[in-house]
Amino acid sequence: MADRILPRPGSSRRQFLVASASSLAAPALAETLTAEPARAQAADPRAPLGMTLNINGRDRRVALDARTTLLDALREHLALTGTKKGCDHGQCGACTVHVGGRRVLACLTLAAATQGQAVTTVEGLATDGELHPMQQAFLDQDAFQCGYCTPGQIMSAIACVNEGHAGSDADIREYMSGNLCRCAAYPNIVAAINQAKRVMKTAMRR
């Protein structure tokens, strides 16, 4: 894991675990690598592929194995662990992010294939410390229990409203069916989306 970016000094449990697990401290190596804008890598398929990813409005230069999914690029190489890995096979929705403004599954997306498109993760929702209306609604409506599926639920829910698929409870349930919640917080998730959609519509009218 030599190319793992170590987090800045801090006190979170995860940061402690990452720092403890990594004997090779190579801060921000992935970002300092310079590489060709990748159309094709060299004949050696194991050679790192240089690429620029646009994550939450910021260009990030990284050199990654071609096999790296967007999910692993975010979590393992860019220290953005808000996006969660559930099944890693497109069956649970925990890894939902927006690419080019559309909700997709980061676990079935190659990082290299997202070059040139804007990626938004749950970390990119809040502005100036103010939560996105959907984040606030999930808090207000108690729309989670363990919270593991929540980032994916929130990313999916925002897209659900923006697509115009949140007109009724039945619509919400149908168009949120790609996000599983083992705690079964579904009724409160529907309530949160109903709360947020009114705020989001008001914000759009302004």
Binding site: H89, S156, A159, E163, S177
Partner: protein
Amino acid sequence: MQPFVFERADSPDAALRAATAPGAASSALSNPTQYLAGGTTLLDLMKLEVMRPRTVVDINGLADGALGRIEPRRDGVRLGALVRMADAADDPTIRRQCPMIAQSLALAASQQIRNMASLGGNVLQRTRCAYFRDVSYAACNKRVPGSGCAAMNGINREHAVLGTSEQCIATYPGDFAQALIALDAGVEIAGTDGSRTIRFAALHRPPGETPDIETTLLPGEMIAGFDIPLASWMRRSLYLKVRDRASYEFAVASCAVALDIRDGTVADARIALGGVATVPWRARAAEQALRGQAIDDATIAAAADSAFAQARGREHNSFKIALGRRTLARALRQAAAIEI
């Protein structure tokens, strides 16, 4: 996942050239170069090491051209192969003129996957047979030709009752393909020697002795689009999907139906069955049973019986024969009741 070389194609020709490099295999699926569109099947199966391409050619950059467009035609509509499932499902013309197509897409997968998956890739999605998807099972004729079939006497509740062979009973999992085969859509296929068009029914091969060869695509060929003939009576169409949970699930049994009813009798009928067959399945015998008849309990029962006359159930999936008949019967009743 096995290492691979990643390339991005900036033109259809570049993509086709990359995929027809020397060393190409005998079938499109065994080709060491695979196209990447939505990736929802390919990456899943690469993670499982069921598919192990040495080169992956990203063709998503071609969506700016005809491959990414929905275009009206004189007698129908053309759907580019890189149109996403979600966009075709929400297209107002398709929803109005042939609900069966829009419904087959909207009832499939989840919105995230529909945003990703291309129409071309969707029809090529591979079976959900657990013995195919799990390489720890040695016996799978589709994955390792000649190795046997673990499903034949295994847990085969999800498996096919129509179009099976002694080598393979894996179910074709798709929904959209049922609408395409019912409507006798054309498939435009691009290759280095130019393009060719075939009927959708000629795209998939029944398993027979070679379940590893799933389509008639040649190595390096790419689906460019679908030509769908539409008639005004196809507003009387629907896609009915029966599954183990209400949403985000593959069909246990499904039915695409379009009825042309004139003066109370069936002038034409289009019927395809999903979840029950090894390939997209047009129920021509059932269509024939309905032509010239009124839609009533007796003709519906006759059509449903003829659709499953050749069905063969196994230990855990025999229920699909009764369920398939009832799914078809319900779809016919609902279609007949549509006001157009």
